[in-house]
Each structure stands twice: as structure tokens, then as C-alpha cells.
């Protein structure tokens, strides 16, 4: 079970036993390894700061450029550049934790268990509320988020409950569930096709169609790579949109 060499029972979808009775889980070990990997990558990339980057510094700068130009500058504006380290860490960490789903020995995307996505969503929830309260004051922040300007006064009876539910309930919930459900669905598909391939290959009779689930498995692995990158990007860009919206509420 630890090395992904056999299939877990179906009950492991909702019961998460530790290794041999200890409370430590494979998911916890992978989370710790992901955090260590992200730290080591960016630490090594920043050690020698040559003017013309080469090697690992080049890769680190590529990631930071992608986050800065594609996420922070697009959604938060040029005066939010101090958020780039946080967004880079968030994007890299979510990407590394997602990618374990297709790495051969581990085979378990960490975000397929709801604990880490829920924690990250709660973190972003606290962040955009605290940034909003700090920049506009408590009353100003509540006024600008619950009573958006440019709405005729009579419509506030309809708009304000919707805005309240959107800002304080739907946003963190949808952030967590989007990441968790995408990764869980991909993981379940991979496990299903792998189980089917193994069952067809090890049966006593020879099935001509045994190659079909294997082809689907290969295609789905490639698709899971795309989904890992995409979900990390979407989580980060939505976090940037929410925090940017709290900082400058006019647009």
C-alpha cells in the first residue's frame, strides 16, 4: 500500500488508516516531502544570483516570471508585486502536491483528500477578509462587498444576501471543492482503468480487448498532468482575484 504496488480497498475513500497502526499516513508523508521539495528548489535557485541565469536559477526565474506576469500583474495590478512570493509558493506547492498522482511509486495526489484543499481555502478566506478590513476598515469593507456600488437602491434587498453568500460562503467552499474534486475524480479514473487493465491481463483466458484500458490509462495519465498544472494555476489566480478585489474594490 505504501509503495503503490497493490490496490487499496474501496473503504479507503472515506477511512484513512495510518501505516501499521501509527497515525502517520502516506498522504502526510507526501505533503511533507512536497513542502521540502518546493523549499529546496527555490533555495537552490536563489543561491547564486548571476545576471544571466543558468540551470536551476533559470528554472526558478521561469516559474516566478510565469506567476508574476500571468497571475499577479493581470489580476492585482502593478502595486501588488509584494504578493508574488506568496503566489509563487502557493502555485508551486499545489503543483507538486498534485503531481504525486502520476509519479510511479507514490501514485496518490495529496489534494485527493480534502484536508489540504480545505486548509488552503480557509487560509485564502482569512487572507482576503483581513486584507479587505485592513485596507478599507471593517465598515468600509463590509459596505463595499455587501452593497456594491452602481446598483439601484431598491435592488439591494435581492443583491445583498446573494453577495453575502457569495463572498463569505461560496468562495472558500468552491475553492476547496474545485481542487479536491478535480484531483479525486482524476485519481479515481486512474485507479479504475489500472484495476481493469490488471484484471484483464492476469485473467486465465486471453482477452483481445485487454490493451484498450491500458491505452486509456496512458492517455489519462497525460491528461492528469494537464489537470495538475491547470488546477494549481486556477487556485492561484482565484486567490489573486479575491485578494486583489479586497484591496481595490472599485473594479
Amino acid at each position: 500500500m505504501l509503495f503503490g504496488l497493490d490496490f487499496p480497498p474501496v473503504s479507503h475513500l472515506v477511512e484513512w488508516p495510518g501505516i501499521a497502526g501509527t497515525p502517520v499516513n502516506k498522504v502526510m508523508i507526501l505533503t511533507a516531502i512536497s513542502a521540502a521539495l518546493v523549499f529546496i528548489f527555490f533555495f537552490l535557485a536563489g543561491r547564486k544570483q548571476a545576471m544571466v541565469p543558468k540551470g536551476i536559477q533559470n528554472a526558478g526565474e521561469a516559474v516566478i516570471d510565469f506567476v508574476e506576469d500571468g497571475i499577479v500583474l493581470q489580476t492585482m495590478g502593478p502595486d501588488a508585486l509584494r504578493w508574488v512570493p506568496f503566489m509563487t509558493t502557493l502555485f508551486s506547492f499545489i503543483f507538486v502536491t498534485n503531481i504525486w498522482g502520476i509519479v510511479p511509486v507514490a501514485q496518490m495526489p495529496v489534494n485527493a483528500r480534502v484536508a489540504l484543499p480545505a486548509f488552503l481555502a480557509v487560509l485564502i478566506f482569512f487572507l482576503y477578509n483581513i486584507v479587505g478590513i485592513k485596507s478599507q476598515g471593517l465598515g468600509g469593507y463590509l459596505k463595499s462587498s455587501l452593497f456594491p456600488p452602481g446598483v439601484p437602491k431598491a435592488l439591494y434587498i435581492l443583491v445583498t444576501p446573494i453577495e453575502f453568500i457569495t463572498v463569505f460562503l461560496v468562495r472558500p467552499f468552491s475553492l476547496a471543492v474545485r481542487l479536491f474534486a478535480n484531483l479525486l475524480a482524476g485519481h479515481l479514473l486512474l485507479v479504475t482503468f489500472a484495476l481493469l487493465t490488471a484484471a484483464l491481463f492476469t485473467a486465465e483466458a486471453f482477452y483481445v480487448a485487454a490493451a484498450l484500458p491500458f491505452v486509456a490509462l496512458v492517455a489519462l495519465t497525460g491528461f492528469e498532468l494537464l489537470v495538475s498544472v491547470l488546477q494549481a494555476f486556477v487556485f492561484t489566480i482565484l486567490a489573486a482575484v479575491y485578494i486583489g478585489g479586497s484591496m481595490h474594490p472599485d473594479h
Binding site: P9, G70, S174, F180, A181, L184, L195, A198, A199
Partner: protein, 79 residues
């Protein structure tokens, strides 16, 4: 292998789960089709803007797909 496969037997609630996810996937399917179609039209009309259009398209797809995945998760919560 067979004991693992034998655990995946169905009962009446799995029909309900299928119905829940089936209905949940209709709207996002149409919605994502509209978004991607308009994005392709935009990229064909102005190829210089393709990068920005592509980024916004992915953002829109992620929002809409979340709704379909709510239904997927709900189908698993239903016992």
C-alpha cells in the same frame, strides 16, 4: 483481484448517484462549450490576443467545471 472487484457491487442508491451526477453535468457541458467556442472565435479573429484569450478561457472553464464537480462529490457523499 476478485475480492477487490467484488466490493464494487451496486445497489439502489447507485442509480440515484448516477442520476445526480448525470443532471449535474448537463449545464456545465453546455456552458463550457459556449465559453470555448467563443474563445476560438476570438482567437481566430485576432491572433495577437490569443494568449490573453486562452488564459481567460481556462479561468472560465475552471469556474464552470467546479459546478459539475459539486455534483460528482455529492454523488459520493450520498450513501
Amino acid at each position: 483481484m476478485l475480492p477487490v472487484l467484488a466490493e464494487l457491487t451496486g445497489d439502489i442508491s447507485s442509480i440515484g448517484k448516477g442520476i445526480v451526477y448525470g443532471f449535474a453535468a448537463i449545464g456545465p457541458g453546455i456552458g463550457i462549450g459556449i465559453v470555448v467556442g467563443n474563445a476560438i472565435t476570438a482567437m481566430a479573429r485576432q491572433p495577437e490576443a490569443a494568449g490573453m484569450v486562452r488564459t481567460t478561457m481556462f479561468l472560465g472553464i475552471a469556474f464552470i467545471e467546479a459546478l459539475a464537480l459539486f455534483g460528482f462529490v455529492l454523488a459520493f457523499i450520498l450513501s
